[in-house]
């Protein structure tokens, strides 16, 4: 059985790519692994901003940071649960995982871990600015990935 890996992240997620990955897995009779990578950068920046240019102390700042991180994790769990349900109804074998950290590193480690035959990514249309930041992540993965890659261009 072939193994496909769908990689999502806080900034790269869409229902469309999920639908695409599920039907692809169904067509090719493959198992689908879904990895959600949490972006830890955003809460950290907010935290820094609040204590540095805002004038509230450490405590509210770190509480907020935690609230944001938890929210990201919740959102990811929710999203992954939905995917699982959809996979069940479609009869696709599907396992989901959450990780925190660098996008490319985690994605490559996951390819190795699952010995994936194909990796599916979402690339949303973004402003030039965020393209520079996020696009380069995907580009590095494109160069490195030791398996087939499908990029889903979403909105």
């Amino acid at each position: 059985m072939k193994k496909f890996l769908l990689v999502l992240s806080t900034t790269e997620q869409s229902n469309e790519v999920v639908g695409y990955a599920l039907s692809l897995a169904k067509d090719k009779d493959a198992a689908l692994f879904v990895l959600f990578i949490l972006d830890s950068n955003v809460p950290a920046t907010i935290f820094e901003k609040l204590t540095n240019i805002g004038f509230i102390g450490d405590k509210p700042g770190s509480e907020l940071k935690e609230a944001i991180s938890n929210e990201y994790a919740d959102q990811a769990h929710q999203f992954l649960n939905d995917i699982k349900e959809e996979a069940d109804t479609k009869g696709v074998s599907c396992k989901t995982f959450i990780e925190q950290g660098d996008f490319t590193d985690k994605a490559l480690a996951a390819i190795a871990r699952f010995a994936a035959d194909m990796i599916i990514l979402n690339r949303s249309r973004k402003s030039v600015f965020s393209r520079l930041l996020i696009g380069s992540k995907i580009d590095r993965l494109l160069r490195k990935a030791p398996c087939e890659i499908k990029i889903f261009e979403g909105d």
Partner: protein
């Protein structure tokens, strides 16, 4: 050396960016300092321009150095302020006892008192309770809930710093969003709620001295350099119409760009009620803190003429401690003490610029030489302040623009209070980017908001704010006796 006594407890990280970037980052601080130092020397060494004395020239040099350090933040804002306070006497602009005494300016102590009061509100949970109580009342329709999501933080921002309000509101709005099962980025209503929260807090923050410390800072600079003053009540009266109009417009714009698909918000009300129940009954502590807060505000409004605002603020703080409502430890956790120093330095610098004549000279070379209409000048200044605030800290915008603004005002004979409003008010109204304004950053970080949309709508709102501000100058202020 044995294995036991070897401890590697220094935690480290390895910077994995490309080497040139690492070098740049490492030398960033050095480069900035170098640039600041070179500019400093160059400004001092240049022949003194006509209309600017030696002291003015030196003040200008100090101003440029501090500005660079404030904007780039290579050292903490507070430390830059400390630098200002030694640089000014060292350069002979003021004598050192004067410079140091400015640091103990009343505005600084007022801000200090306001922060401590806010800390008490947050720590006791009173602020969250108020937010929950009010918000629940707005829960009859999606539309009204949206109004509440904007109005509640706005009102709270009358009492405490807008950043703190946004940080406190965040979990509450999150609760609402969860209870309605809204999806990040997808559901308009979720985006609308978070934007309402952020923009409500920001708009509310311009209304009083408590919402944004920059307001008190601006008035402090005004008082120190010119002796004029704006009272607590007077400020709010002057700004309130703008606040109301902006809240209405912001609400309409949000409603227009994020048409809600939600028909029922009962679940949200239940969630808010549950959250409120979890807080338990209102404690005596909370009631007392509330009382102290109310009395303090009344005193600011009615006794503000007779007693200094700072005096009242400090008395309130003493009352909090006398009633054992806060502990010092709480204050250490809830107040960012370092930043208070920033305000002291900004006031000192502003005064030095003003007294040395650098401010009016700067005004002349920047604007006055070509802009003929005072109104145009004010409009321009407000716009500059608004644009700057999108990218940098609000207080830094005030510290940077106000001394020059006052110089300009004097030359045109504009009421200097107008100059204060023209700079301090727009400095709180950056809606587009998460960079300059913590409430925006917090809302953005929720993950529910599409940043592109936030930017577009935020910039529209920026322009609206600017226009409303100008209309207010023309129509409303003359009525309350603030004229050109």
């Amino acid at each position: 050396m044995s294995q036991q006594d070897y401890k590697e407890d220094r935690r480290v990280v390895v910077d994995t960016r490309p080497i040139p970037l690492v070098i740049l980052a490492k030398s960033y601080r050095f480069i900035i300092f170098l640039v600041a130092a070179v500019l400093f020397v160059v400004i001092i060494a240049l022949p003194t321009p006509a209309g600017l004395g030696v002291a003015g020239q030196r003040a200008l040099a100090a101003f440029v150095v501090c500005l660079i350090l404030w904007v780039t933040r290579v050292i903490p804002l507070a430390v830059t302020s400390l630098l200002a306070i030694v640089l000014i006497p060292l350069l002979g602009i003021l004598d050192s006892s004067e410079a140091f005494s400015l640091f103990g300016n009343q505005a600084v102590f007022f801000i200090l008192g306001a922060f401590i009061l806010a800390a008490a509100l947050m720590k006791s949970g009173l602020s969250s309770r108020m937010a929950l109580l009010f918000l629940r009342r707005f829960g009859s329709t999606p539309r009204s809930l949206l109004i509440g999501a904007m109005l509640v933080p706005a009102l709270l921002s009358f009492l405490m710093p807008e950043h703190a309000v946004a940080a406190m509101m965040f979990p509450i709005i999150l609760e609402v969003v969860h209870s309605l099962k809204l999806k990040p980025l997808k559901d308009n209503y979720g985006q609308a709620l978070f934007l309402s929260m952020a923009w409500g807090a920001a708009i509310g923050g311009v209304a009083t001295f408590l919402g944004g410390a920059r307001n008190a800072l601006a008035v402090g600079i005004l008082k120190q350099s010119t002796g004029q003053f704006i009272g607590f009540f007077e400020w709010t009266i002057a700004v309130l119409p703008l606040v109301i109009v902006m809240l209405v417009i912001a609400h309409l714009i949000i409603g227009r760009f994020f048409p809600s698909q939600i028909t029922d918000v009962k679940d949200a009300v239940v969630a808010l009620e549950n959250k409120n129940k979890k807080l338990g009954k209102m404690s005596l502590e909370e009631r007392l803190i509330g009382l102290v807060m109310i009395l303090t505000i009344l005193a600011w409004v009615f006794l503000g003429g007779r007693y200094e605002l700072a005096t009242i603020a400090i008395l309130a703080v003493v009352a909090l401690f006398a009633l054992q409502l806060v502990e010092w430890k709480d204050l250490e956790e809830y107040v960012n003490w370092g930043i208070i120093l920033m305000y002291g330095g900004a006031i000192t610098l502003g005064f030095a610029l003003e007294k040395s004549g650098a401010a009016s000279w700067l005004a002349k070379v920047t604007i006055t030489s070509w802009a003929k209409s005072p109104f145009l000048v004010v409009a321009l200044l407000a716009l500059v302040s608004l644009l700057f605030t999108e990218g940098m800290s609000n207080a830094a915008v005030v510290a940077m623009l106000l001394p020059v603004g006052l110089g300009i005002g004097k030359q045109y004979g504009i009421d200097l209070r107008i100059m204060v409003f023209a700079i301090a008010v727009p400095a709180g109204l950056g809606f587009g980017l998460p960079m300059g304004n913590p409430p925006n950053a917090i809302a953005y970080s929720s993950g529910y908001i599409n940043p592109r949309k936030m930017l577009t709508i935020g910039l529209i709102l920026d322009l609206v704010a600017w226009s409303v501000f100008l209309i207010m100058i023309k129509i409303y202020w003359p009525l309350i006796n603030i004229k050109f």
